[in-house]
Structure formats: structure tokens, C-alpha cells
Amino acid sequence: MLQEWVIVAASFAYLGVLFAIAYYGDRRAAAGRSIIANPYIYALSLAVYCTTWTFYGSVGRAASSGVGFLPVYLGPTLMVPLWWYVMRKILRISKAYRITSIADFVASRYGKSQVLGGLVTVIAVLGVIPYISLQLKAISGSFTILRHYPEVVMPGKALAQPFLQDSALYIAMMLAAFTILFGTRHLDATERHEGLVAAIAFESVVKLLAFLVVGAFVTFGVYRGFGDVFRLAERTPDLRALLTVPSTSGSYVTWAFLTLLSMLSIMFLPRQFQITVVENVDEDHLGKAIWLFPLYLLLINVFVLPVAIGGLSLLAGAGVDADTFVLTLPIAQQKEALTLFAFIGGLSAGTGMVIVETIALSTMVCNDLVMPVLLRMKSLRLNAWPDVSGLLLSIRRLAIGAILLLGYAYFRIAGDAYALVAIGLISFAAVAQFAPAILGGIYWRGGTRSGAIAGLSAGFVVWGYTLLLPSFAKSGWLPSRFLTDGLFGLALLRPQELFGLTGMDEIPHSLFWSMLANIGLYVGVSVASRPGVAETSQAALFVDVFERTHAFDRSRFWRGSASVQDLLPLTGRFLGPERAREAFLAYARRRGCSSLDTLPADADLVHFAETQLAGAIGGASARVLVASVVQEEPVGIDEVMDILDEASQVRAYSRELEQKSRELETATAELRAANAQLQELDRMKDEFMSSVTHELRTPLTSIRAFSEILREDPRTNLADRARFLAIIVKETERLTRLINQLLDMAKIESGSAEWHTSELDVQEAIQDSVDATSQLFRDSGVELTVSLEAAPRVRADRDRLVQVIMNLLSNAVKFCPRGGRVEVRLAPAPDGVRVDVQDSGPGISPADHEIIFEKFRQVSDTLTGKPRGTGLGLPISRRIVEHFGGRLWVESEPGHGATFSFVLPLDAGARAAGESPAHAVARKGVGR
């Protein structure tokens, strides 16, 4: 038996813990050691999305529509990845301009419009207060159920308690006290409440744990796991339908619309905006929240269906409302502690929502409804008050009290009426109306104030007509003919089948029409109207927030004269003189001024003061106030457009400049590389000179040595003389050959070689070369085989080609041992003709495959260790082949001979002929 005092004590103990946490959080924040400055607390506090409507209501919806409860949580899961762009932008804007509520955001974007701020506030209040009532009702209901433990009694049957015994009243009063205490402790220019956020994060943990424990108990305690529960549902005809999507045509439409609706709600519900944007400590926390928050949603939904199935099969017969299964199942199983924990979980879900929602609404009501009116009341002489901050706090506190009172009153009036029960999604649909004005406002510069007002109003009216009024009719507060026959008896105006649109559920139906009207008018009126000066500049500041946060950009839209003597007292009146003075001094230091007197009273100062004020009383009122103490010169719309154009031009120039500097860097790098190459060439030239002289000296030395022998020793016999003379002749020939090749090489390299290009048959060229070298082969005892396939004719210089082939052949002979074999092959290649010269010599090691094509870099003979030849033949051959657009290479393995191959392309001659003269001149020019 749960005594009533136990329940009350537990509730108070829980609220006491909440107070303690909030108090501790505030203390730590004041000491500069925030406990909420981490992404985990941020993600947990976002879970204020899950109210009693989730805690109790998900099971209720699952019991009636099966999968129908899921889109409300899948929508946010789909939305959060887009926050990387969307929410980051909203966060950046809000932090830059001290925006403290969703109404303030919309008002600021559209030229700091008081009308828009008021309109958004009205929509939010009307849409959300019933939702607060729903939380009070759920808490009160759960309390009533708990009091009858161990019987399962429905709160409706226990019937309304007398006013003073109603637990909901006391809960509302407690929550008002909590919210006032931690939500309006002082006027913070950023409207952040650290203690409160800590408490909300704690509540999120409690409600999740409570739901998981109840769910696990039902699934694993009452039944034997998920399989058991689902088999039970499968066997029961009434429950089987819950396991799949209803086969009616509209259910997928409903699914998609509910997903979309919750995608918008997760951003634009006032409590979500408060937690996500206003209470955000650090933009970086968004990253982790992007996956932690959906994880939270997943966890809190895992057991929804098992609990629904369990409740339906165990309790449905007893007339128990499915919305109470989370509580009544533990009661029916006689689990006292579990029941109490479930109740605390529901309490945490309800209180968390009420607290944050109330704070958010009270800020809006104060800044966007009450203050604008008070500032207009000249008789109040608000301008003469020395300190208005106390008044502001009082208004906030009164607003909190009033909102909770209204919520409680609506709960008492509506009771079990449909209008209250269905408010969850109706509330979502109301705040979804903010989406076009906000999303359009941050991405589309063309959205105007008139457009936003028209769109919001139209969306709101359609929402009221298609959702709110029908819910009144279903509650019996309006004649039911309104639903069945339409307004004035016009069938076309049936609120839930507007213009004859049938086959859609009420939420998709209303969302469709209201969004059509909202977006249509927002866009239509925006493009049709001419925006004013303030709207144009604000639009630019919002849309380009990532480029335009620089003070220079912001303050250029303002011109006039101001003085610190005017602005400081004004700010002081709203923030408190001390805090204002501190803020101004800090600002002066940032600008490098030692005192307030030296602070230049320029546009930037005005902007600073206005932002400070905006944090306290909202952007629209701050604008009015600042305008009242400074002399402003009107800035024309053309001028604003000029500034915007100029700014974008400056950005374009700077991009161009960056481009140019990048190009310059590339050019520098290229020059550096060219320089390095030149140095390398210089080094190579020196090397070349020393090798040339070395090559020339060797034969010269030998010629001179033998000549001297002949001169100095006249008695040398004839045979020796003949031998020495033969050596001298041979060495002279070698010298001549070397010099010829050197000249040849130099000509080819400088481009001054003469080329006599003509169409020729490679077969003939090979045959001529073979004939010319046949004596060489005979002398060396090397066998030469020739296999020539028919190949297309190519354009080339015949003599040069013969030179190449002869060079390859003589090389092959040179390296072949006596009795070796050399084979010449000609074959058509895919894009020309290919010639191979294969020998059976010692082969070339892979490391030397490229070296042999360098000048004078012949590989030493493995047998004698002496180089043979001049070391220029292969480099010249390669250059000749390359001149015709072909390539020359070697394939060889040591011990298996070598194959030198070259390919000549078919159009080689054309290229060589076309290129040759101009190229030669160019190269000559460089050479000089």
C-alpha cells in the first residue's frame, strides 16, 4: 500500500533534488566553472523534447495506431544531421546579435519588427499553453492513479477533486517557484540559465531510466523477452494490426507528414529553441549532440510497443486508458517501488517541459508583447526611470506565473476534452508555421517583413481553422455541425475536408493547407513587395552571417551621431547601472581605449549598445530605445544596396587577389624548378666536357706514342712499323668517328641538324643497313638472321634511319661472342612499325637499361673491363627516333642477350616536318 504521504514526500524529494542541482549549477557558473559546458549535458538537455506526451503518450499512441508513434522520433533523427548547416547558422546569428527567443529571431531578421515579434509570441503562446496544460493533466492524473494503489482506477473516474485538493495546482505553483527562482534570478544579457539546464539534463536521465526500467520489467519480468511479447501480439487478432502499417492509402502520407512535422518541431518549439540555441554554451557541442540525441530518442522508444501490447492484453478489458499503461502495469503487478519510479519518471518528463517552455514563453511575452506596449505608453514615462531592470524581472516573473496559471486553468476547463488530449501534434503544427519565415530568413535574402507577416498570419489562421477549432468542436465547445457541414453550412469549408480534400488525416490535411498558405504568401508577398532599409541590411547580416560578423560590416548600415553619455545610461537602465558600466569598460578595452571618455562614439559603439540591450529586452525594442537617444541620419535603400554590392565586390576582389597570389606561388615554384634544372644542366655540361676531353685524349695518346716510337727509333723493323702505322690509322679513324658523332649530337640537340624527310619503306632501310654491315658480321663470326614482315610506309629521314639501324647492328656484333646470333625483325605495331634487334650477348643488367642511353655512359664490358665504342651511338639513335615521334628502348636480362627495339609512328614524318624549322630557330634563340 502506497501511502499518500509517501507519494507526496517522494515528489517533493524529487523536486528538492532538482532545486539542489539547479542551485549547484548556478553556483558553479558564477564561479566560472560551468558543469554544463560539455556536449553530453547539451545532448541530454535537448531531450526536453520528450515530455509526458512521450513518457505516457507514446504507449497510448502505439496501442491505438501501432507504428504511428514512431515518426515523431524519426523526424528529429533525420533533422539533426542537417543541423550541421542549419542550426549552426542559427546559433551563429543568435550569438552574434544576442537573440534570446524565437520571436526575437524572427523580429530581428525582418528589420527588428515589433509587429512580427508580437505575432510570433501570440502564435507560440496559443499553440503551447495547452501543451503545458497537458503536462499538468498527466502529472495530476498519475498522482490520482498512484493514490489508489493497489487498485487500478482511472483519474477520470476518480473525478475532479475540489480545487484546493488538486495536486496539479500545487505542482503548477512549485514549478512557477522553480522557474522564477532559476529562470529570472537576474537579467543576463545572454539569457542563459546554467543551473536550470543542469536540472533539465538530470530530468532527462531520470525519465529515460524510469521508462527503460518499466519497459524491461514488462518485457522480461511479465513476459519472457521481446519474442514472447510479439508472439502474443501475433496470436491475438486485435493486436496483430499494430505490427504493420494500416493498409489504408493515407497512412504513408500521414507517416511522411508526421516525420516532416516533427523535423520542424525539433527546431521551432519554443523550449527546443531555448535549449538548443539560447542555452548553448559552445557551438562545438552541436557535433556530438547530432548523434547522441537520436540515440536518446531510440532508447526511449525501444520498449514502447512491448508495454503497449502488455497493457492491451492484461488491462484493456478493465477499461484502463492506454495512456496510463506505464503506470498501471506496475500497479497491476503489485510492484510498489517500480510504480513510484515510473511516477517520478513521468513527473520529470512533465516538469522539464513545463519549466523550459515557461521560461521561453515568458521571455517572449516580456520582450515582444509587454515591453513594446510599455515603451509606447508615453504616460508611463519609462524613459525617465533610472533603473528598469527590476521592472523587467518583475514582468518576467509575472509572465511565468500567468503562463502557468493559464495552463492550469485550461486544464481545469478542458479536463478530458479532446482539445487537450490531442494537443501534442496540434501544438507541433502551430510552431511549424515559424519554419518558412526562419528557414527562408536565413537562406533567402529576398524574404521581406510583409511576406513574413502575411505568411505567418495565413498559416496561423489556417491552422486554427483546420486543427484548433475542430478540436473545440470535438470537445463539444462548438456545434458539431461546424465539422460536418462546414462554416455557414458550406460543404467546401468543412474544416477537416477543406475545399473537398478528403482522404487525408487531420494533421497532414492541416499541415498541407497551412504550409501552402504560409509558404505561398511568404514567397509571393516577399517578391511583390519592396523591402525597407532595415530589412535589407538585417537580411544581409543574417544570410551572410559567416562572412559578415566583422564589426566593420555590421556598423556600416548605420550613420548618425551618438555619445557615450547617452548610450551608457540607457543601457544601464535595463541591465543595471553597474553591469552596463562593466560591459562598456570591457568594450572600451577591446577597442584599445583606457577610459569611457576616450571611447569614440561611432556606429560600432551604437551597435554594441544596441546588442547589449537586445539581450535584455529583445532586438525590436532595443532598436526603438537606441533610436530615441541618438541622432540618426536616414540611410537610403539605394545606399544600403550599394554597401551590399560594394561588400560583395570587395569579397570578389579579395577572392581574385587570393587567386592571383596562388598563381604567383605556382610561378615561383616553376621558376625555382627551372633554375634547379639549369644548374643540373650546367653540371652535366661540365661532366660532358671532361668526358669528351678524356675520350679525345685516349686515341691521341696512343697515336702520339706510336708516332714517337717511329720517329725516335729508325731501326724498327718493317713488320712493327706496319703494325704501328695500322694502329695509328685505326686510332685516327676512331678520333674522326668520335668528332663526327660529337658534331652530329650537337646538331641534333641544338635543332640545327638537317632532316630530309620522305616517305620510305622501313624494309628497304633495314636491308641496306644489313648489307652494309654484312662484312662486319662475317669478320666477327656472328650469324645474322633477318625476318621482315610487310609493314606500312612511314615518313622519316632515310639516312638517319639507316644510321640508327646500323648503330644497333654494330652494337649487337660488338657484344656478341664468336658464333653468336643476331636477329633483326620488322613488324607492324598498333600505331606504326616496330623494329627489334636481338643479340645473344651477355645482356645488360636492369640497373643499366637507362644509363646506356646517356652520353658517354657506356657499360663496361664484363669480359675485358674496357669500354668499347664512343658512348655516343645509342644517345644519338634515341634522339633520332624521338625526333620522328617514336621511342627506343632495351629489354634484357644478364646472360640472356639483349633486344633493342624502336617504334616509329605512322604520322611521324608529318610531325617532324611540321615542327622542324620553327623548333630549330627557337632552340637556337635559347642557345644564344
Binding site: 544531421p81 542537417l82 521481446f226 501480439a233 504493420t244 504513408y252 562545438d284 531510440l298
Partner: protein, 66 residues
Amino acid sequence: MSRSGTTGPRLVAIFLMGGALLNYPILFLFARPGELAGIPLLYAYVFAVWILLIGLMAAVIERPRG
């Protein structure tokens, strides 16, 4: 948020994938009798996609920088 510029596009891709997998007509393919490890097919599918989305988002956000 000095992560490389690929995080945003990847998150958008996750959104697009989730939007496609959790709506008609792909959802329709799983809205039929049947079960997967004792869980009705539709629920198993939706929760599997849900877990997949969260896992991908975590992988994209938490991948080591640089």
C-alpha cells in the same frame, strides 16, 4: 568546428538515405507479415535503419581529425 569540409556533405547524405529508407515506398516493402529474430519485420527494419543512421552519424562526427 575545424573539421574537414567533408563532414557536412556526409551528414546530408545520411539525411537523404534516412529519408528514403524510412518512407514510402521502401517502407512499404517491409510492412508485411513476417519476423526477424522474433521481432515483427517492420519494427526490426525501422529500428535497424535507425541504429544504422545513428552509427553513421557517430562515425562521421567522431572520426579522428587530420
